[in-house]
């Protein structure tokens, strides 16, 4: 049975590091739902969050294959324990007439903030688990959406659980 997993990893912050991971997923036909990467507080390290879907066997192989990459230092399947997941979304919507006020109210309900305004548009910033962002997009009239951009999930373990060198 396939389930969704969030895999976090630390790797050497070197040119080509991202392509090694992306290449591994395509070469071995693993699913990739989203992938985010940025340097950590230690600039020699990159932290990557990969959201993937697969059976237990496939996820085990993904973890092993990631660990096998020479540049990868540590790999953790966040979904194996308590964790927090967040994703950032920016949505540009049409905001004219009655829908302008309605859009503001909906954004407030979802604890989003309007970060750019024109006479006819709002740009709304939302943070949360992917499902919350999906829910927001469902809650507004799809005809009003001009553009959306999402970062893909980032995640961190709860409590003492941490991923560090």
């Amino acid at each position: 049975m396939s389930t969704r997993h969030i895999i976090s990893l630390l790797m050497e912050n070197e040119a080509g590091a991202l392509s090694r991971v992306a290449g591994l997923f395509s070469a071995r036909a693993y699913n990739i739902e989203s992938l985010t990467v940025a340097p950590t507080e230690d600039a020699t390290l990159s932290r990557m969050t990969i959201v993937t879907v697969g059976s237990e066997d496939v996820i085990e192989q993904i973890t092993k294959q990631l660990n096998k990459l020479v540049d990868v230092i540590k790999v953790m399947d966040l979904t194996e324990g308590q964790h927090i997941e967040r994703e950032l979304m920016l949505v540009k919507v049409k905001a004219v007439g009655a829908s302008r006020e309605e859009m503001k109210r909906t954004a407030d309900i979802f604890r989003g903030s309007i970060i750019d305004v024109t006479e006819s548009t709002y740009t709304i910033e939302l943070t949360g688990a992917g499902s919350k962002l999906d829910a927001f997009l469902e809650a507004i009239d799809s005809a009003l959406i001009i553009e959306t951009v999402r970062t893909g999930a980032s995640g961190i373990g709860r409590g003492e659980r941490s991923l560090k060198v």
């Binding site: 050497e12 096998k68 020479v70």
Partner: protein, 602 residues
């Protein structure tokens, strides 16, 4: 040269002298501090690593490196005729000696020609370092002449690769390349060196070792798992030991033989594991898999406890995994690569570690154990002997046409089983694996994983250079040999006296066999037309050519080829073999191991 004067002063200060000691020349003193160019650094790193041979082909991007090679005599450069052969030869050198092989090629087409060789080494986990030239750093990405993204192209078929962007990183990168290639599960490492880096200068020191926080291969096996494994082995009713290339690569065959002998269990080798356990040993059931022996495949399918060592249950070995899983068995799997464990087959006792290390510990535990192997073992051997009695490798020895199997058997007899045998890919490869009884590891050199036609001749070159006095035979076919036939020229230049045995059936034999079985004997493009006269071809390169048409001439020809009179000569034997011969037993793709087609059934 102000810096030079400064260096000289520094030397005197460090040495606590007021003037140079007698006999010290300026050159000698300068060499302590002299800034080295990138090209010098590459060459000095190779020398520091104790490299004996660099197989290569020059070109624009590596001319500085070649200029430095010209000036040194620490290692020998072997000029091949095609970059693919350079990598294959380096690969074979590594397989035969256990040391890291080295190839050097230029940018662009040099690198792309090397890719097949790199992928071949990757699939069989062979430690090689390939230095590729690259266009100068400012030209990268400009679609410069002979530019390719070598790091990008080779990424999926290397253990690791590097693009050196600063000459200061060069020595450390070379050290890392050698460490990564040789340790853990070995594999090829590519170091891509832009041309400007080869003339930039820096101070050269070669690090004795380099720490990599992201790279720490496991050596020692988990002691708890080891204990469980030993218990399981001693309880086994129908045990089986299945060994792969890991035993050969890990230099663990001595330990493996001890464990197997102590337990008295049957042993089978994969294609890559041949020689890991002696083929002529009573406990050895021969190779398993698609063209494995009847007894090996049946025992593999019906065993109740399987000890897998340095093997990876690949599709050519166990056939259909669902069929394999129909029989209940518990599996202990020792491998240095965790990702090889539970990849195709679920394993009960995984032991990640260096095979030699783990087997040594296992041996100690077995010796301490109070229990002995289960008495049921006797009945199991009785069953195995019944399977063995089928004599699945028998063939018609009365044939008036040369049988390919016969050639391999005679080669084994003449060389007393002591030759290094390389092969290409196809039917002849399987016959070589089945009929040459390898009793020692690192004697069988072939492309198992990637199945690269054309490796045979360059493999033989790499082995012969490593062991100049050894008997080296290349068993090949008329199709495979033509994929790197240009290396006859290299053999001439360096007087490499390999013996080529071409099993010439005028077909791509394995393709023909599959077409006969699965495509209604429609032999689409598998007939090799317009073959050269191999005798004349060999002679044109100054080698000895022989054409053998009759079975009664086979042995004499091989004896002559390996006689002292021709010891220094390269000999090309063209055996005209039976076109209709097929490799048996055979497990069709997608079928189970016990569903073999045997020769007698057709």
């Amino acid at each position: 040269m102000a810096w030079l004067a400064g260096r000289m002063q520094e030397f005197l200060t460090v040495a606590g002298q007021t003037d140079y000691p007698p006999g010290f020349t300026n050159d000698l003193i300068c060499s302590q501090f002299m800034e080295a160019t990138g090209a010098e650094i590459v060459v000095r790193c190779l020398a520091e690593e104790g490299v004996e041979f660099v197989f290569g082909y020059p070109g624009g991007a590596v001319l500085n490196i070649y200029d430095e090679i010209f000036k040194q005599n620490k290692f020998k450069h072997v000029l091949v005729r095609h970059e693919q052969a350079a990598v294959h030869a380096a690969d074979a050198y590594a397989r035969a000696t256990g040391r890291v092989g080295v190839a050097l090629v230029t940018s662009g087409p040099g690198a792309t020609n090397a890719v097949t060789g790199i992928a071949t080494a990757y699939m069989d986990s062979v430690p090689i370092v390939v230095v590729t030239g690259q266009v100068p750093t400012p030209a990268i990405g400009m679609d410069a002449f002979q530019e390719v993204d070598t790091v990008g192209i080779t990424r999926p078929c290397v253990k690791h690769n590097f693009l050196v962007k600063d000459v200061k990183d060069l020595a450390e990168t070379m050290k890392k390349a050698f460490i990564i290639a040789a340790t853990g599960r070995p594999g090829p490492v590519v170091v891509d060196v832009p041309k400007d880096i080869t003339y930039h200068t820096t101070e050269f020191t070669y690090p004795a070792s380099v720490e990599m926080r992201s790279y720490n291969p496991v050596v020692k096996g988990h002691s708890g798992q080891l204990k469980r494994a030993v218990q399981m082995l001693l309880e086994a009713q129908r045990p089986m030991i299945y060994i792969g290339g890991g035993v050969v690569l890990g230099d663990a065959s001595k330990q493996l033989v001890e464990v197997a002998s102590l337990l008295g269990f049957p042993v089978t080798n994969t294609l890559m594991g041949l020689g890991g356990h002696p083929a002529t040993h009573r406990q050895n059931l021969g190779m398993l898999g698609m063209h494995g022996t009847y007894e090996a495949n049946m025992a593999m399918q019906h065993c109740d406890v399987l000890l897998a060592v340095g093997a990876r249950f690949d599709d050519r070995v166990i056939g259909n995994p669902a069929h394999f899983a129909r029989e209940q068995r518990r599996i202990i799997h020792i491998d240095i690569d965790p990702s090889s464990i539970s990849k195709r087959v679920k394993v009960d006792v995984p032991i990640v570690g260096d095979v030699k290390h783990v087997l040594t510990e296992m041996l100690a535990l077995l010796k301490q154990a109070k229990d002995k192997p289960d008495a049921a073992l006797t009945a199991w051997w009785t069953q195995i002997e019944l399977w063995r009695a089928k004599n699945c490798l028998k063939y018609n020895k009365q044939s008036p046409i040369i049988k390919p199997q016969y050639v391999v058997e005679k080669l084994w007899e003449v060389t007393k089983g002591d030759a290094y045998v390389t092969s290409d890919v196809g039917q002849h490869q399987m016959w070589a694996a089945q009929y040459y009884k390898f009793d020692q590891p690192r004697r069988w050199i072939n492309s198992g994983g990637l199945g690269t036609m054309g490796v045979g001749l360059p493999y033989a070159m790499g082995v012969q250079l490593a062991f100049p006095d050894a008997q080296v035979a290349c068993i090949t076919g008329e199709s495979s040999i033509q994929m790197n036939i240009q290396e006859l020229s290299t053999c001439k230049q360096y007087r490499i006296p390999v013996k080529v045995l071409t099993l010439n059936n005028r077909y791509m034999g394995m393709v023909r066999q599959w077409q006969e079985f699965f495509y209604g004997s429609r032999y689409a493009e598998s007939y090799m037309e317009s073959l050269p006269d191999f005798v004349k071809l060999a002679e044109s390169y100054g080698h000895v050519g022989m054409r053998i048409d009759k079975p009664e001439d086979v042995e004499a020809a091989i004896r002559e080829a390996f006689s002292p009179a021709l010891k220094e000569r390269m000999v090309f034997m063209d055996f005209q073999t039976d076109q209709t011969e097929n490799v048996f037993p055979m497990v069709e793709g997608g079928k189970g191991l016990s569903e073999m087609i045997l020769a007698e059934e057709l």
